[in-house]
């Protein structure tokens, strides 16, 4: 090929590439412009004092766009149930519920649930929270309040939404719901059936069997140790309502830690769902000797269930008596009034 022809070919190729790139750039800008415009329109249409209610619908394209703008990398197809917790790190009162979002995500993530924490707090502040609470749920930084405005969440960022795959709001609440209420709502909409069944601690601890070792830590803190009680009475305490159980039963805990157990040592093991600091403070102030009081570091069989938080412990607490070989001699309910 002659040099002149080659030059012409190169020039034409470059020109063509330029056309293609220009077209692509304009397409992208135009597309973004269109999407941003549709998102802006959706936000304007969403502009209302009233929060979204059950049955309201969301423009799914606008929602997807808003999620992407705030950092979601999700491109899932088909669409999924979307659980959104609006919060700021200072809303510590909602943390229990938000941590439960992680539990739901682990259980239903593969069958179509996405969960996000949406916040307008600065990323370092949020990262602190995520690290401290070991949250695995993705966090969306709603810097320009795009999600908040689109989903009509209050400007104080305390709101929870569950959105069905078709954009229908199936749950909307200012604040964060209790764990068990959220479980019921998610089961109803995702599984179709609410599970009301309940575990019984007495079915887990059977007379004649060996009491399994329990991983615990002293309630004053410290390293995790394995409790393998012998010739002892072990009081296993669930956490259905941590605050009320703690306060209402204080006298009982005091009696249990001071009264004799027929020559056996008596150990109190609280569910790991009790807040450690509050437990320690309240027991100490309540005059309970804390030498033999522990916080479980694993679920207590039949008493604890991280998914069905209210399902365990029909008995609230059980006293398991073990012999010198660690075999269970008896299992009694603490709260049975006979």
């Amino acid at each position: 090929m002659a040099p002149r022809n080659r030059e012409t070919l190169i020039r034409r190729s470059l020109l063509l590439s330029l056309y293609v790139l220009t077209f692509a750039a304009f397409s992208l800008i135009g597309h973004n412009w269109y999407l941003n415009r549709s998102l802006a329109r959706a936000i304007v249409e969403a502009n209302s004092e009233n929060p979204l209610e059950y049955g309201d619908r969301i423009d799914l394209n606008a929602l997807k766009r808003a999620l992407q703008q705030t950092g979601s990398r999700d491109n899932s197809n088909p669409p999924t149930f979307l659980l959104l917790y609006f919060m700021r790190p200072s809303h510590f009162q909602h943390l229990k519920s938000i941590k439960y979002g992680d539990v739901l995500l682990r259980r239903y993530g593969s069958s179509g649930l996405q969960a996000f924490l949406v916040t307008d707090a600065q990323p370092p502040e949020t990262q602190d929270l995520v690290r401290r609470e070991a949250l695995s749920m993705p966090v969306l930084f709603d810097r320009d309040s795009v999600l908040r405005l689109l989903l009509r969440a209050p400007d104080h960022y305390e709101h929870t939404l569950l959105i069905a795959p078709d954009g229908k709001i199936v749950f909307s609440l200012e604040g964060a719901p209790s764990e068990d209420l959220l479980r019921q709502i998610v089961e109803k909409h995702m599984v179709g059936v609410i599970d009301y069944s309940r575990d019984h601690a007495k079915q887990h601890y059977r007379v004649g069997e060996t009491l399994p070792d329990i991983r615990v830590a002293s309630i004053a803190g410290g390293i995790v140790q394995t409790l393998a009680p012998r010739n002892a009475e072990v009081v296993l305490i669930s956490a259905r309502c941590t605050a009320c159980q703690l306060h209402a039963y204080m006298q009982r805990y005091r009696e249990l830690t001071t009264a004799s157990a027929n020559g056996k040592s008596r150990l109190l093991v609280f569910s790991g769902r009790f807040p450690q600091q509050e437990l320690l403070t309240d027991l100490t102030e309540g005059g309970v000797t804390t030498d033999n009081v522990y916080l479980a570091r694993e679920p207590l069989g039949g008493l604890d269930n991280e998914y069905r938080t209210k399902s365990g412990d029909a008995e609230l607490a059980v006293i398991v008596s073990v012999d010198g070989q660690g075999r269970i001699e008896s299992v009694r309910s603490l709260d049975e009034v006979e």
Binding site: Y54, V170, L181, Y196, A248
Partner: protein
């Protein structure tokens, strides 16, 4: 809170505590009976049962609040059916607070979405009306009117027509200032066959009776040192009242309010009132408000009865926050 602070708090509370009705001042020893509570229907999962009522069909209707449903059980404690389930759509329940039965056995439930919903005894949704003020208790009268405890609206009881319009209100608010005024005047209600209304103020331990037109007939405070102590806790500025018993903090009010009395049940046949208290006992009075007895738990027992009812076999049945449904019998003769 340290002991001196508690003492100061109590002294302040008793100094500034509003005066209770005169009847309470003349306290006389009231008989006490130790009760025995036996858990029944153990195979039916219940969570935070708030109220039990007996329907015209003799079945028990239990507001299983934690499970957002009403559980119907037979007189021998077998599961019959459930009414509604958790949700925010019409016909579903979201954080139900209280319920009532009308004379036909229809069920009316109020929930955390400020809705009053009706259901047939078999669970068919009859309809929904919405209201604007917080409401934690209701009753239904013989005219099909709904009586709601909504002190935020300026009276103890607001009466709604069957279609949801406010018809009238009655009962003067007692004590409390600012946002505490509404909280202090929350009440539970009971209606007689003649549509007279009994009111039990949840946080003040006061009983009242109104005629069908809403005129106050009498008022009395639940007597006894222990009840006085509960009142003192409600009015005190102690920051952690849950140490002494059950406290309610609603999203609407955000005021932690210590209960004195949880509920009110009228046995219209035997003309007796039953009021479960926040010390685990049950106060029994006659229909004129005169004290009959306290039913007390044995020493060391810990439970709070959210409601009580007498059934068609004259058994006393209670609901407990954690233990579901309980049969209450005397532990030893009075």
């Amino acid at each position: 809170m340290k002991l001196p602070q508690v003492l100061i708090s109590f002294m302040l509370a008793h100094t500034f505590m509003p005066a209770t009705p005169a009847a309470a001042q003349k306290t006389q020893p009231i008989p006490e009976t130790t009760l025995r509570a036996t858990q029944v229907a153990r195979d039916i999962p219940l969570d935070q049962s708030k109220r039990v009522l007996v329907g015209p069909d003799a079945n028990y209707y239990v507001l299983d609040a934690g499970n957002n449903r009403i559980v119907v059980m037979s007189p021998d404690w077998k599961f019959v059916r459930q009414i509604s389930a958790a949700g925010q759509e019409p016909g579903a329940l979201f954080d139900p607070q209280d319920f009532a039965l009308d004379r036909q056995g229809n069920i009316f439930v109020i929930d955390g979405k400020k809705r009053l919903q009706g259901f047939t005894p078999t669970g068919k949704h009859l309809g929904t009306i919405t209201y604007r003020a917080e409401c934690l208790a209701l009753a239904v009268n013989g005219r099909g009117e709904y009586l709601l405890s909504q002190p935020e609206l300026g009276a103890l009881v607001t009466v709604y027509s069957p279609s949801g319009e406010v018809r009238r209100s009655f009962g003067q608010l007692k004590n409390g200032e600012g946002r505490y005024r509404s909280v202090a005047n929350r009440a539970h209600l009971a209606v007689t066959r003649a549509d007279e209304v009994y009111v039990s103020l949840d946080h003040q331990g006061i009983l009242q009776k109104y005629d069908a037109a809403g005129r106050l007939l009498w008022e009395t405070a639940i007597p006894g040192d222990q009840v006085e102590r509960l009142r003192g806790i409600f009015w005190s500025d102690d920051e952690n009242k849950s140490k002494y018993g059950v406290v309610i903090t609603t999203v609407h009010s955000r005021v932690p309010a210590f209960y004195v009395a949880f509920n009110l049940f009228l046995d219209d046949t035997r003309r007796q009132l039953y009021v479960p208290l926040n010390n685990g006992s049950i106060y029994v009075a006659d229909a004129d408000g005169k004290p009959i007895k306290f039913l007390k738990q044995p020493r060391g027992a810990v439970d709070f009865y959210s409601s009580v009812v007498t059934d068609k076999q004259n058994r006393l049945v209670a609901t407990s926050r954690f233990r579901g449904v309980l049969l209450i019998t005397p532990a030893r003769p009075a």
